[in-house]
């Protein structure tokens, strides 16, 4: 088997979230170094998104024709109760998890946020990019001088289940006293989000560690030496929350998304209104 074929298979497995953390990190490094690999990964991601998008816009029809309603009512009754119990459990777990999230509306939180110089810089970068690319239909991957990046390790979380594909990877320097890179994601319905991955002498103010719903929507966190800042605008609140939570978990362990998380991202995206950019 040729090296090229192995690379292609690995790239497919990476996009599908099927690699181990170490394998995924290897592929992510290759993507960061090699524009050709990055473009291929973007094509694969958009292929997945397009297939799902097309499937989700199917013709309306009745899943259960009227004539079928009375069929096996007793069996249905029994099954539905079992499923309902399981579903209630799942919902309870989900609701409990959501409540553990601190959700702050617009107001005091945002005024504190605005006072942070490096955060303002990051916001300007995100907003300038979001406006400039608002009319571009993803995917169009722009890789800006990745060869000069100082980050020891570049990783690009997979958000294709949420309909978002990486369309920008660029270095960021002197953001406060931190350096790193930014991954810009785009969706087919106008969504643009930025994930900053930063290292260096800088801290995340406490209030940024709470989910901020406003303009922009923001969430920041850290794992070990790395700081992460997520910015979006006009995205449905629950969708931003789920993406933020997913990214925080992903950046903690860098493991492929669990099936239930992928399902949740897909459902959440399906039920969300397009982004108002």
């Amino acid at each position: 088997m040729s090296r090229l074929e192995n690379d292609w298979k690995s790239l497919n497995a990476y996009v599908d979230g099927e690699l181990s953390p170490n394998e995924a990190a290897d592929v992510a490094r290759k993507i960061a170094r090699d524009p050709e690999a990055a473009a291929a990964a973007a094509s694969l991601s958009s292929l997945k998104s397009s297939l799902l998008e097309d499937a989700e816009t199917s013709d309306e029809f009745e899943l259960f024709p009227q004539v079928a309603t009375p069929l096996k009512a007793n069996a249905l009754w029994q099954a539905s109760h079992l499923v309902a119990a399981a579903a209630i459990l799942v919902v309870c777990i989900a609701v409990g998890a959501l409540y553990q999230w601190s959700w702050t509306g617009t107001g005091e939180g945002l005024s504190n946020v605005a006072a942070t110089a490096w955060y303002r810089q990051a916001t300007d970068i995100h907003q300038e990019w979001a406006v400039a690319t608002a009319n571009e239909r993803p995917p169009s991957l722009t890789i800006t001088a990745t060869g000069n990046m100082s980050a020891a390790e570049i990783r690009i979380p997979d958000l294709s289940d949420s309909g978002l594909v990486p369309i920008l990877l660029e270095p960021v320097s002197q953001l406060g006293a931190m350096d790193g890179y930014r991954v810009g994601y785009g969706g087919s319905r106008g969504c643009r989000i930025s994930l900053f991955v930063l290292q260096g002498a800088g801290e995340i103010p406490d209030h940024l560690a709470e989910l901020q719903d406003g303009v922009p929507q923001v969430y920041a966190w850290r794992h070990d030496e790395a700081r992460y800042l997520l910015l979006a605008e006009g995205m449905a609140g629950p969708r931003f929350q789920l993406i933020a939570r997913t990214l925080k978990n992903v950046t903690a362990k860098w493991q492929p998304l669990a099936p239930d998380v992928r399902t949740a991202l897909q459902s959440n995206r399906r039920e969300s209104v397009p982004c108002a950019v």
């Binding site: 790239l11 097309d54 169009s140």
Partner: protein, 173 residues
């Protein structure tokens, strides 16, 4: 969520998978409705979502295979696509991919390749789940999906030619 609502949440993806298999909207609707009714009347329904999803798409795929069997077309579907695309796969990377183009290219693909792509990308199965459903090793799923996507991207690149941008010169805030 009751069983009906749970099934309804998969309606579009079931239909998308069925269309990928059949390329026939009417037949796809029939197969999806038939599968939904089978699922609704089943006694042993998987409770966790990934298992439920794999189970549901297996029902649909079996319904499709039954349809082919009845029409004496099963052998053609089960033939594996062994031909390797002769183009360099990396040459397809600078192309735009959109839903319409993908749909057109998918329609021209062999059924077995449409099947594996739809199982992974529309049904959302993991490689292990697809391997179990297709009764093949996980490594074979990995090979098949990469080969099928390669063929699909090559078809797309023959019909859609908007290049992607690569810009040099980084931002320095």
């Amino acid at each position: 969520m009751d069983q009906r609502k749970r099934l309804e949440s998969y309606r579009n993806r079931l239909y998308g998978y069925a269309v990928s298999l059949t390329q026939d909207p009417d037949l796809s609707r029939d197969l999806v409705q038939e599968s939904a009714l089978k699922a609704l009347s089943a006694k042993n329904v998987p409770s966790d979502e990934p298992a439920f999803r794999a189970w549901l798409f297996r029902i649909l795929r079996n319904a499709f295979l039954d349809h082919l069997r009845a029409a004496n077309l099963l052998a053609g579907f089960m033939e594996e696509e062994t031909e390797e695309p002769d183009q360099d796969v990396w040459t397809t990377e600078e192309r735009m991919v959109d839903a319409i183009t993908v749909r057109i290219a998918m329609a021209a693909m062999p059924a077995s390749q449409r099947d594996i792509i739809a199982l992974i990308d529309i049904a959302g199965l993991r490689y292990a789940e697809a391997a179990e459903l297709l009764e093949i090793p996980v490594g074979t799923v990995m090979s098949r999906i990469s080969r099928a996507r390669q063929a699909l991207l090559l078809r797309i690149s023959d019909s859609n030619v908007t290049p992607m941008k690569i810009v040099h010169g980084g931002r320095r805030p």
